[in-house]
């Protein structure tokens, strides 16, 4: 503690951090109120809500992982080109040539961790009964976030363009081709015709919409790349903003009535 105080009193420290550490309620409240990031929080919350054994920090960790994914994702985008010629080679270079060749690992395992943590967060929200009124809409937002997280992970899975990714995405998207009525292999699609010609074919069904082609090709790579790097992250951040705002508006972290 002495050491910390000496650091605090040093010229260097005081030149960077102008205020002394806040010790009274008023100044501690001011830290949260006057800081752009911390202002996401209320100034004071009930004691049970900061207990680790209540939320297990899971929502916060999910968001933290989203930030980690964003930063490592930007780093990966510096080296990656979503074309069939380059994608796989860029993966090799990321592994063998780029310094600190671990960004791909952090990004990939971070994505898996995020899926796991979001699922566990849902479990904790359920087990504390926090989905019940007045938080029912925030639960709905949460389910959307879960689906977006899964879809984000899925679109990213294709980008290395190796056997694993290509066939995993083939298996996954083939299911869309079996959708009733709107998938060309789905039941009922043969009933949708125009002038005797079938309307739903492998060139016009939802799977085609998803892939941009009738099988996993470069069009798919491009489509998934754009979804993965732009559209879905934007949607996740927008919904996170709504989610956090609703946590505050619904009365903060849930507690007994």
């Amino acid at each position: 503690m002495r050491l910390i105080q000496r650091i605090r009193r040093s010229q260097l420290y005081r030149s960077v951090i102008r205020h002394p550490a806040p010790r009274d309620r008023r100044n501690r409240a001011a830290v949260v109120l006057t800081n752009l990031v911390l202002h996401l929080h209320a100034v004071a919350i009930s004691r049970h809500a900061v207990r680790i054994g209540y939320t297990w920090c899971l929502g916060g960790i999910a968001f933290f992982l989203m930030l980690v994914e964003t930063i490592t994702g930007v780093l990966l985008m510096f080296y990656y080109r979503p074309t069939t010629v380059h994608a796989y080679r860029d993966m090799l270079e990321l592994r063998d040539v780029v310094s600190f060749g671990m960004v791909r690992e952090i990004h990939r395992w971070g994505a898996h961790a995020m899926v796991i943590i979001v699922m566990l967060h849902m479990l904790r929200v359920f087990l504390t009964g926090s989905y019940r009124p007045p938080r029912e809409f925030n639960w709905v937002v949460g389910v959307m976030l879960l689906l977006l997280t899964l879809f984000l992970a899925f679109t990213g899975y294709l980008l290395p363009w190796d056997q694993l990714s290509m066939w995993a995405v083939t298996v996954g998207t083939n299911m869309a081709g079996a959708a009733p009525f709107i998938g060309h292999e789905g039941p009922g699609s043969a009933w949708i015709t125009a002038g005797g010609e079938p309307l739903i074919t492998s060139q016009s069904d939802v799977r085609y919409l998803l892939l941009g082609a009738s099988s996993v090709t470069e069009e798919t790579l491009n489509r998934f790349y754009v979804l993965h790097c732009i559209a879905l992250p934007l949607a996740v951040f927008a919904l996170c903003a709504l989610h956090f705002w609703r946590v505050r508006k619904d009365g903060g972290i849930s507690g007994p009535l």
Binding site: H41, R95, V115, L123, L127, G129, R132, L257
Partner: protein, 447 residues
């Protein structure tokens, strides 16, 4: 196939279980010390705590395993005969039944399991079993396959979280039974604390812990990269990413339009609808099972008993041709599973149901003939989705029906029964070799 990792892998593969034994030894030693300390500080405490002895014993066991590794280079393993017994007695049905039995035993015996005396065993026995199984090359190869490790992690994390959530739930349910508020509702707990520093520092520590874990994970396991994509060469088996493998596993039991689209779609809708179907604001904001036993059982069954189970089967037990393989069984020997499954109508010897394939004849003979042949399917579905909820509301679900009204009741029952259709069809297939309840190959709407 798996390239060398940046730092630790795979030169030291056999050392990883040793590391885990070390972690286990330290964990148990610390737990024993802490148990002893709280016991000595609490003047009202009774006899010497049994938990201390148990933690101590487990610490000694883990340390002994570590010592064995140190001196002989070997870790405790399983006898071959036991592995062969496990491999030959497991199949998709036994895995399901064991998993579901485990879940319900976990829920029913929760009071016993969370008591201080059982805590050491609950925390240690699964870990030890896992570590001993890791000594098998086939099993550890499966576990350390980089993309598979996430599933080990999610199962372990879910069990861990569930265990502590159940501890809190038992504690609160006991308090409520004694007329006290749940712990989260105590006066002291309802007081406000300042976010800075009380919460902000917890967040900081959580971030550091998560980032450290993620870095260790990334150092230890390289991100997989296989041969370049080749549309002409299909790997066997081609597996979806792990979070969708559950749906792929459903393909064994359902046609793709159900397994890939309708079932996940309706279950997602059910998840969204949950707070509107179970809307009473009471019982929210604290861990509890007694205040919501039925909905909790249904949710946990869906989450752990279906979602996670199907992922685990699909990832760990399915090999080439999507055949079932035991945990210690080599995947190099291709298996073809015999499919003698047949539709319900054939199984019941309904007249005209003998035809296995959609026949031109059937198509020509028209709708009426098909429906006559397939009468068991619609009869089952009608009874299941319409008559059953009506019958139940006279008995077991009466109170629920009263509380939420007709619309919510029927929506909730539909979603619940729809979810139960999954285990029903799994068991029908495994136990009776029935693959379709409703078989309409002429139109494709097989259920």
């Amino acid at each position: 196939m798996i390239d060398e990792s940046p730092l630790l892998w795979p030169q030291s593969a056999s050392a990883v279980p040793a590391w885990l034994y070390a972690v286990l030894a330290v964990f148990n030693a610390v737990a024993a010390l802490r148990t002893g300390k709280t016991w000595r500080q609490d003047p009202s405490a009774g006899r010497f705590p049994l938990a201390l002895i148990s933690f101590g014993l487990y610490a000694a066991v883990a340390a002994a395993a570590l010592g064995l590794f140190f001196f002989t280079g070997k870790l405790p393993g399983l006898p071959e005969s036991f592995k062969r017994f496990v491999d030959s007695s497991l199949n998709a049905a036994t895995v399901c039944v064991l998993w579901w039995g485990f879940l319900f035993a976990f829920l029913l015996l929760r009071r016993r399991l969370v008591s201080p005396n059982s805590r050491p065993h609950v925390l240690n026995l699964p870990a030890l079993a896992f570590l001993v199984a890791l000594s098998d090359g086939q099993f550890s190869g499966l576990v350390w396959q980089p993309d598979n490790f996430a599933i080990v992690l999610i199962v372990a994390a879910t069990l861990f979280h569930l265990y502590f959530a159940l501890s809190s739930a038992v504690r609160n349910d006991d308090r409520i039974a004694r007329g006290l508020p749940p712990l989260e509702g105590e006066k002291r707990e309802r007081e406000k604390v300042l976010v800075w520093p009380d919460l902000v520092y917890i967040e900081l520590i959580a971030m550091i812990v998560v980032m450290t874990g993620l870095l260790i994970w990334s150092l230890a396991l390289p991100a997989p990269l296989e041969a370049p994509a080749d549309p002409l060469h299909t790997p066997n088996p081609a597996k979806a990413p792990w979070y969708f493998v559950g749906l792929q596993e459903l393909l064994v039991y359902f046609d793709p339009w159900l397994a890939g689209v309708v079932i996940p779609g309706i279950l997602a809708l059910g998840l969204i609808a949950l707070p509107y179907l179970d809307p009473s604001p009471e019982g929210s904001g604290y861990y509890s099972l007694a205040s919501r036993p039925r909905v909790a059982a249904a949710f946990l069954f869906g989450f752990f008993g279906l979602w996670l189970l199907l992922i685990v089967i699909g990832v760990f037990f399915r090999g080439p041709n999507w055949a079932f393989y035991g945990p210690f069984e080599s995947r190099d020997v291709p298996k073809i599973e015999s499919t003698r499954a047949r539709p319900l109508s054939t199984w019941l010897h309904a007249p005209g149901a003998a035809s296995e394939r959609p026949s031109e004849e059937g198509r020509r003979s028209g709708t009426v003939a098909i429906l006559l042949r397939e009468w068991p399917g619609p009869a089952f579905l009608l009874a299941y989705f319409l008559i059953l909820p009506h019958a139940l509301q006279r008995g077991p679900t009466r109170a629920f029906r009263r509380r939420v009204g007709a619309v919510r009741y029927h929506a909730a029952m539909f979603l619940f029964l729809f979810m139960l259709l999954i285990p029903i069809k799994m068991l029908l297939r495994e136990a009776c070799a029935v693959n379709y309840i409703l078989y309409l190959p002429e139109w494709g709407w097989n259920i």
